[in-house]
Amino acid sequence: MADIPDELLRRSAAARAAAEGVSVEDILARWSGEAPAPQAPPAETAAPAATEVTPAPAPAAAALTVAEYAKAAAEASGMPEKLLMRSAQAKAKAQGVPIESVLADMAGLPDPGSAPAPAATSPTPQAAPAAAAALSTEQYAKAAAEASGMPEKLLMRSAQAKAKAQGVPVESVLADMAGLPDPGSAPALAPTGTNGTTAVATAPAPAPAAVPAGPPEGVRTQRLLTVVQADAIQQVKAEPTDKVNVWPHLLAVEFVALLVVTAVLIVISVIINAPLLEAANFNLTPNPSKAPWYFLGLQELLSYFDPMIAGVLIPGLIGLVGLMAIPYIDRNPSVRPADRKLAIMMFTFFLMGAATLVILGSFFRGPGFNFTYPWSDGVFFDDLKDWLE
C-alpha cells in the first residue's frame, strides 16, 4: 500500500466506495489495516469525489470554440495539437458526435453538447428510446457497421443468424451491436443503455466527468483500477529466505578451499613419501600385519570379540545398515541441536568410539597385535613409515 501514489489511491478508494456504497474513509481505513472510521458526515465523504467530478464551470466551457478545445486537449494530453485534431475528427466521425464533444472529452472538460450542468452521474433521459425506436433496420445496420468497422453486408448476415438463433428481431441484435438501446425493449429499461443514447448522435455524456483530465482515447497508459490486497489472491506459505548469488560468493569460497587443499596435499607429498616396503613375499609374514588404517578399528575389535561379531555384526549391521537406517529411525522432525540431544549424543559416541578404535589399532598395537605404548615401544604403523623414521 505504501508504494501507491496518494492520488491514485484516493481515486481508487472513491471508486470502491461508490461500488460498495460505503464512505471513502471506510475504504481507506480498511486498506490501511485500521478499523473502519465511525460514519463520517456525508458531506465530508462526498467531497473528494465531487471535486474530481466537476473540474471546470460548465457555462464557460460551452462557450469555447473548436480551436480552444483542441488547445486545451493538447495541453491536457501532451500530444501535438495537429495529431490530436486528426484523431478527434476520426473519432467524431466514427461515433457520430460533434468534434467539440470529443475534444472536450479529451481535454477533460464538460461536453458542450450534453445537457446543462449536472451531467455527472444521472443517465441522459428518455428522448433516446423514442428516437431509437423510429430507426429502420437499414439505419441500425449502418450504425452497427460504423461502430464495429465491419462491412455492412457481413454484419447483416451475422445479425440475422444471431437473431434467428436467439429468437429476437434483427433490429435488437443490430442495436446491440451498434451500442444503441434495444428498440424492442420497454422504455422503462432505457436507462440501462446510458452509455450510448440518441440514435446516430450518441452523446457520451458522463464519461468526461468520471475521468478528469485523462489521456486522449487511443493513448494507452497504465491505470490503477483498484487496489487488491495481496492476501486476498495470493497465499504465500514459504518464508522468503535470504539468498546470495552463487557467483561470486559461493564459487569464490569453493575455489579458495580447493586451492588450500591442493597446496596442503602438495606440501605433504613433498615432505612425506608414500610407503614402499620390500617386494611382496608370501613366505615372510610381517609382525604385526595390519589392515589399512580405516579398517584398523575393525581389526582392533577382532582382538576383543568373536570374528562373527567384530567382523560381521558390528561393521555390517551397525556400520552399514545402521547408518543407512538413521533417517528412518530418527523421526524427530526438528533440526535444532537443542531438540536432538539423544541423537547427537549417540552419533558422537559412535564417532568417538570409531576414532578411538582406529587410533588404538594404529598406534597402540605392536608385534602379535599386542598392546604397546608408542612412546616406549615405537610405532608399528607402516602407512607413515617414511615420516616416522
Partner: protein, 263 residues
C-alpha cells in the same frame, strides 16, 4: 624511465598497447564468443550485475551442480567446511593423478613392484604424483567421513533428504573399497599383508564367507589374479559405479531443496 632511453621506452608502450589491442580483438572474436557462453566473465564486455551473476551459473555447465542463488548461511565456511565439495574435488584429483600412474604401471605380480619403485627413481614427478595419489586417497576417506558427520549434526538427513543420506553411505562404502583395492597395487609387503588381513575379515561373512573371499581375491588366496582383479576394480569398475552414485547424490541435493538449514 628517465635514463634517456626514450625510443626504447616508447617502443615498450607501443608494444603494450598493441598487446592489449590483440587481447581485445581475441576476446571479441567469434571463436572466443563461441567458447564462452553469454554471461561468462571471460567474455568481452562482462560487467558485474545481478543479471550477469545469474548468467555465470545459468549458462555454465556448473548449473548442473549449483543453483543461481543459495541460502546465505550455506556460503559461510563454518557451515559446511566445504567437505562435500572437497570430497568431489579429491576424487577428481585422484582420477587425474591415477591416470598418470596408469601410464607407468603393469598389474602383474612380476612387474608391479618394480614399476612402483621406478616411479620414484626414473619417472619425472613420478614420486610426487604417487605421493599425491596416496595422501589424496587418505584425505578423501577423511573428508567423506567428516562430511557425513557434518550432515548428521545438521540433521540434514531428515525429510525430504532421507534417501540422499542412504546414497551418501553407499558413497562412503565405495570410497573405502576404492582405497582398499588401491592398497594392494604397489605389491609390497605392506600391501600384500594388509589385503590378506582385509580378505580374512571379509571371510567372516556368515554363510557366504568363502564365496566372498573367492570373489574378492580371484582365488582361495592372494595371487597375481588378485592383483589384476583389484586393478580393474580400482581403475575401472568402482570409479564407474561411484560416478553414477555421485551424479544421483548431487542431483538429489538440488532436488531436495539445496543446502539444508539454517538450524
Amino acid at each position: 624511465m628517465t635514463d634517456g632511453n626514450g625510443s626504447g621506452n616508447g617502443g615498450g608502450l607501443k608494444l603494450r598497447e598493441r598487446m592489449s589491442d590483440v587481447g581485445t580483438r581475441i576476446r571479441e572474436s567469434q571463436t572466443w564468443g563461441s567458447i564462452f557462453r553469454p554471461g561468462s566473465p571471460f567474455r568481452a564486455g562482462y560487467s558485474d550485475s545481478p543479471r550477469n551473476r545469474s548468467y555465470v551459473v545459468m549458462n555454465n555447465v556448473l548449473y548442473h551442480l549449483h543453483p543461481v542463488k543459495v541460502k546465505r548461511h550455506g556460503v559461510r565456511l563454518s557451515y559446511t567446511l566445504c567437505l562435500g565439495g572437497l570430497s568431489f574435488f579429491l576424487f577428481i584429483l585422484l582420477t587425474v593423478t591415477g591416470i598418470f600412474l596408469m601410464f607407468y604401471y603393469t598389474p602383474s605380480a612380476e612387474a608391479a613392484y618394480a614399476d612402483t619403485a621406478a616411479l620414484s627413481t626414473s619417472v619425472t614427478f613420478g614420486g610426487l604424483v604417487r605421493n599425491l595419489h596416496r595422501w589424496g586417497a587418505h584425505f578423501m576417506v577423511i573428508t567423506v567421513f567428516l562430511h557425513m558427520s557434518r550432515v548428521f549434526y545438521h540433521g540434514a538427513y531428515k525429510p525430504p533428504r532421507e534417501f540422499n543420506w542412504v546414497i551418501g553411505v553407499i558413497l562412503l562404502l565405495l570410497t573405502l573399497l576404492l582405497s582398499f583395492t588401491g592398497y594392494l597395487l604397489p605389491w609390497d609387503q605392506l600391501a600384500l599383508w594388509a589385503v590378506t588381513v582385509g580378505g580374512e575379515m571379509a571371510g567372516f561373512t556368515p554363510v557366504f564367507g568363502d564365496q566372498v573371499t573367492f570373489a574378492l581375491l580371484g582365488g582361495v588366496e592372494i595371487s597375481g589374479a588378485t592383483l589384476l582383479r583389484f586393478y580393474v576394480l580400482h581403475v575401472l569398475f568402482l570409479p564407474f559405479i561411484i560416478v553414477i552414485f555421485m551424479a544421483v547424490h548431487f542431483w538429489r541435493v538440488r532436488k531436495d531443496g539445496g543446502i539444508s538449514g539454517p538450524l
